[in-house]
Symmetry: C3
Subunit: 152 residues, 3 copies
């Protein structure tokens, strides 16, 4: 089997670029996850996974990551992305992602609502939350992203 | 290298949610794959992989999964998702996914046609098929999904 | 942790199919990566990874791959996809993908510009590039794709 991640952190950032993909790449760099290989996952925090905001991951590593992002080519538009981790008492957690044409505050509120719904559906008690979000006013081509990289 | 999966099953389900992502999350839960980390793959059944509908996978595990899904916010709309596995005589199989605004029956028919095409293109004999599908009449925000999780 | 890839190659191809997914499947087959499980990654060439155009990967393997593709159902339309790997002097490289309604030449030019931007942003010297691209005039349902599979 693939090894289950043991550590995680949250990051959110935004950037401009000359193209859609380089705006995304620049936002990843601004979020300090630009030099690794993100593998997108949906989106459970493994039981016992430890929060480690100082995690340093070697370049090129394959990193299971839950993330949301939005790229906009409309100058002046406000975009935002948020991720949240909901923690249970003693087992796995749930990760939610959101990105849209809204403020950081609205993105955060959506994440919080989604986490509450996810725990209610599972009949689990939500004991804590961590949320990271970023907003960005587009100049030319802009990207907002938020991510929960998981590691070992 | 990443270890090649040895087991698989099929699942299909649908659900409502308060948002796009929680509708998806609720459909995953209804399909009994809501508490794992899906890694999306395209989409070959490894040679010798064994069908195990009773597979139980620990929460938070990284699970290579071929899947298709659709989320709709149009009340009254009929949506469906299907997956199919086509089996060869003695080597790998092929997995196909489909999701759209149609009935379960149509989604299944599309999967069957895609599997036949995939085997014809490869010059391989299609000796058996397994298909799983779900349809859903949207109430507020609905999701239909179908998946082939692969495991060890 | 997941093992970091040690080898890579580039491929680009196009094909027709009877559906969106089988057009994609047929393009993968034309590019000689149709019988493996692609895991999409974004998109760094690990330090020391070796170029091996003769790589043969067992069917069903889980293969971290950076790729771009486009499917079109508009007969007569020209579509193209390109990938590029930018190499640094002595550390990791950067992979860029592009797909759109344009010629192969334009797709290649975009990749080159994106690689230059990615290295400039990182303050790294771009010492070499490898690019693979394909274009396709759609007959019924066509797909152009370009990929950098990474392996061990």
């Amino acid at each position: 089997m693939l090894p289950t991640p043991k550590k995680f952190f949250l990051t959110a950032a935004s950037a401009e670029g000359n193209s859609e993909l380089t705006a995304f790449d620049n936002a990843l760099l601004a979020g300090r996850i630009g030099n690794i290989n993100l593998i997108r996952v949906s989106s459970i925090l493994p039981p016992g996974a430890e929060y480690d905001p100082e995690l340093s991951i070697p370049p090129g590593s394959l990193v299971p990551t839950a993330y949301g992002y939005i790229v906009s080519e409309n100058p002046g538009e406000l975009i935002a992305a948020a991720v949240g981790v909901g923690f249970s008492e003693d087992t796995f957690g749930v990760i939610m992602e959101f990105a849209g044409k809204c403020s950081q505050k609205e993105a955060e509120a959506r994440i919080e609502a989604m986490l509450r719904e996810a725990f209610a559906t599972r009949g689990m008690k939500l004991v804590d939350m961590k949320i990271a979000a970023a907003e960005h006013r587009v100049e030319k081509i802009g990207c907002a992203l938020a991510a929960v990289p998981m590691w070992y």
